[in-house]
Symmetry: C2
DNA sequence: ACTTTTGTTGTGAACGTTAACGCACTTTAA
DNA sequence: TTAAAGTGCGTTAACGTTCACAACAAAAGT
């Protein structure tokens, strides 16, 4: 392995000069710079990260800006799991992580959280921009020197380092295919869109409908519900949906809020008759999956999103490696039979 | 962060003594050892890996003992992809990887490969023990000081560091469930076991049959084929299977050799009528999956197996961290709609 | 002709860990 | 009894990188 010392020797300069060239810190004459540059390229020099980090041994501080973990049926606990895992692995690398949680439904709460994040003197920020309008403005205010990575969803025109998330439309297409396999005969399907203003929701539904559009035997019917879906409320909806469609064979729920619907179907002893496809490996969903009430859950790999998010920040900020601008998460199909292998 | 220096200060000894305690290198009195141990625990000391590796800066050499990548329908190219990825990420960490390929069907070839591996002065070995009888003997001959990790399959009573692979039985169960969903009416299903002596094959078939045993509407029929399955040979088998069962609605192939069967079904224009479930994301399988001839592929996460295998070796050998004795790979369900997200 | 500034380069300490070495002392063997 | 071997500890150089600082010369300002 080539070292700075070796380069210095070949260029007849000191290691200090080589260092200045490497880091563009000026104070080197053009000719020397050129000479050193050539030798660096020629020898394909790569800095020894152990030595670099030993010397620097700076504590890096990352922030995570995301909704309260209790919201969205505790969905947000999943990425936190992954973040915690990454945090443990990076313990020796002096990475500190601070959470800035906000209430999805309160702009004030978000402002408080984001202000705190800005004041925290962070080296990097991982954020889930679930409230579109608010975040459009917010990303403009992020200081230039603070690199940030989106997970879950993203703001298109922002100057982000990377976006880690799922292709929502295609996950809807996948759900369509699965639903088609599940219901064989002519049938009506309900698509339930809780909180239709949230990211993903629309894209997932569009994907689902676009797939089934090519198929004549299934007629989907969409229901928008502007609430996070309490169990009583879901009871009402489910009943009205069942009454609406005498030939209802399946329900597609476009987010993690699948379990209350499952509970209703179960309580009406319709499990197996009305198939359910939903999202995300939260505890309650898993319970109904194992009971056979939910047929398929599509996973966003939420845990991995958190894990990869932190690692991408680490690579970008600490190791100064380049990270992919887009990390597509797999569209995992989870059933009763394989769910146990998806929980760490 | 606690350092050796700090521990030495608190214990009133030199850093040399602390180092000896940490590495059990003797030459320390019982009392001092105890005292230092207590302080180490108390402060939750963790060595700085940057400093350690900077100092050591030894080049580590790992070996990979596995079948020729061309065998099993080029299945083995998949783990190699993952190994290569890990190799690139560990470039700066001075990890060198040497392959020792063998012909699955030649014991001589295996002996040559394994001897070469033993002579190569390795720091760790990653191996896929696909030929059971031969490997039972082989693992006894591995020198004590050479740590090894199994991937794909494993030898039960060996002294391995970790085994990375899939739960074959359960993957059969999963295939059973999917098959049940695919074929609705009373139907006959063929289970094709190519190379029934290979690992996995039996377990997968058992899992499949055990699931369908609880279900009366599907009657499975097993076919054992003691060949890797040339296209002509598969033609014969497929025809005889179709002739055998007038009500054939599905075929379950227990390994990567799914594509020749798919080709036959396609050429007979039976795609969609006879459903196919198979294994592994090799190129040809993916083609038939996208064409709609294969309904589901179950992935062993072969790429990840290679990747994690190398990293587990790295963690065990280089970082001296503890690694899990068993790393279960997920049972990924792959369809036409999500396959693109499973290829890096 | 002098100080001051600017430009270019070299020097050396520090980061935390490892392990060889040396010193003083004690035990064992011939 | 005396050399050899063993025990318990401290000291120190080295790994490769970073960066503050010193050193010196040349150019610019007074």
């Amino acid at each position: 392995m080539t070292t700075i010392k070796e380069i210095a020797r070949r260029a007849n300069v000191s290691i200090g000069t080589v260092d200045r060239v490497l880091h563009n810190r000026g104070r080197v004459s053009k000719e020397t710079k050129e000479k050193v540059r050539r030798i660096i390229e020629q020898l394909d020099y790569r800095p020894n990260i152990f030595a670099r980090n030993l010397k620097l041994s700076k504590a890096f501080s990352f922030g995570v800006l995301m909704p309260n973990p209790s919201q969205d049926s505790k969905y947000w606990e999943l990425p936190i799991k992954g973040i915690t895992k990454a945090q443990n692995e990076l313990l020796a690398h002096k990475v500190r992580i601070t959470y800035f949680h906000y209430d999805k439904y309160s702009e004030n709460s978000f402002k408080r959280a984001s202000n705190a994040a800005f004041k925290a003197n962070l080296d990097g920020l991982l954020l889930a921009p679930v409230v579109s309008e608010v975040f459009d403005k917010f990303v403009q205010e992020i200081p230039d020197h603070l690199p940030y990575i989106f997970f879950d969803s993203f703001v298109p025109n922002a100057n982000y380092v990377s976006y880690i998330g799922q292709d929502s439309f295609q996950s809807g297409v996948l759900a369509g295919r699965l639903m088609e396999i599940l219901v064989k005969e002519k049938a009506t399907i309900a698509v339930i869109k809780f909180l239709p203003r949230d990211y993903h929701i629309d894209d997932r539904a569009s994907g689902f409908l676009s797939y089934l559009g090519e198929n004549s035997k299934i007629s989907p019917k969409t229901y928008e519900v502007d609430s996070s879906g309490s169990i009583e409320y879901c009871q009402q909806i489910t009943e009205s949906i069942i009454n609406d469609n005498q030939n209802l064979c399946g329900i597609y729920v476009t987010n993690a809020n699948t379990h209350p619907i499952a509970e209703c179907i179960k309580s009406k002893s319709l499990a197996g008759k009305i198939h359910i496809i939903g999202y995300d490996l939260i505890e309650e969903n898993i319970r109904y999956l194992k009971e056979g009430v939910i047929d398929f859950l599509i996973s966003q790999m939420s845990e991995k999103q958190g894990y990869e998010g932190v690692f991408a920040l680490y690579k970008h900020v600490v190791l100064k490696e380049t990270v992919n601008k887009r990390m597509r998460m797999q569209l995992d199909i989870i059933t009763k039979e394989n769910v146990d292998y998806y929980q760490s």
